[in-house]
């Protein structure tokens, strides 16, 4: 990896870590299911951006693009299923607060 490519990858990696911290903190601190999904979305976006930056810096942008397209498909299926589960929980409990999901206790 050349010095300029490494510099670009470092800058993208730096901001990817910030995005990852925001998503992880959101998952840890929130109590609403929808906001938890938003946190997971941010984590996926951080991973996507890092893959793309790595592909660009190593000169394998086509491979990175194909991997990112797969990640995006996984992301949208996850959001659809998680949104459906959230709605289902709301219909049962009339609430989306994870602290009140007592019936999930095994």
């Amino acid at each position: 990896m050349t010095q300029s490519a490494w510099q670009l990858f470092s800058i993208f990696g730096f901001f990817t870590v910030m995005l990852f911290i925001a998503g992880a903190y959101c998952i840890l601190a929130t109590r609403g299911l929808i906001r938890t999904i938003i946190g997971i979305e941010l984590l996926i976006k951080a991973a996507t951006l890092l893959v793309m930056a790595a592909g660009y810096a190593s000169g394998r942008i086509a491979l990175a693009q194909s991997i990112v397209i797969t990640i995006i498909v996984i992301e949208v299926v996850f959001v659809v299923i998680a949104g459906g589960i959230s709605l289902s929980i709301f219909r049962h409990n009339n609430d989306l607060d994870v602290r009140r999901l007592q019936k999930l206790k095994g």
């Binding site: 925001a22 938003i38 976006k45 190593s58 990175a64 194909s66 299923i81």
Partner: protein, 166 residues
């Protein structure tokens, strides 16, 4: 530093701010808009990294479809009363006030933690290969995975709504 790199840094900074807004916004709708904005900025960054196909996917699916799914899910749930919104906002602010501080501390630590270039001798790939060649020729197994995932997603939604109608 070149003007290209400066533009990248400005866009990455805007992406971090919009992600913070998505996480800390008072209402879920504003949070969803923040998430869509983050996706839109990532799209611009992907275009700048010479990845137009992934950028188009990101814009249409992540900034478009996922936002629609979020807005639909939010509109199907019961809105809070004014008093509950005030209470929830105060409670959330107490928990999320540390996030910008943690981000700034992490940024300062990362800035001073100079990571050496371990990949200096990494094998460079061939940029001439087209993404379609890679996707259909080398990584065609991913396509089967994507189809299986989409079928699983569609079946999952059908089952969830079937149970809701009973």
């Amino acid at each position: 530093m070149t003007s290209d790199m400066t533009m990248n840094i400005v866009l990455l900074f805007a992406m971090t701010v919009s992600a913070l807004w998505a996480v800390m916004a008072r209402s879920l709708l504003k949070g969803t808009i923040g998430l869509a904005l983050t996706s839109a900025i990532i799209t611009i960054l992907m275009f700048r990294l010479n990845a137009p196909l992934a950028a188009v996917f990101e814009l249409s699916v992540c900034a478009g479809l996922i936002t629609v799914i979020f807005v639909s899910a939010i509109s199907l749930t019961k809105p809070l009363t004014h008093k509950e919104i005030e209470c929830a906002a105060r409670d959330r602010m107490k928990r999320f006030i540390y996030l910008p501080v943690i981000i700034v501390i992490a940024a300062v630590v990362l800035y001073y933690l100079r990571i050496p270039n371990y990949f200096a001798k990494a094998i460079m790939g061939d940029t001439a290969i087209d993404v379609r060649t890679i996707l259909w020729g080398i990584r065609h197994f991913d396509i089967f995975g994507q189809i299986a995932l989409m079928i699983a997603g569609a079946l999952g939604v059908v089952i969830l709504f079937k149970e809701a109608n009973k």
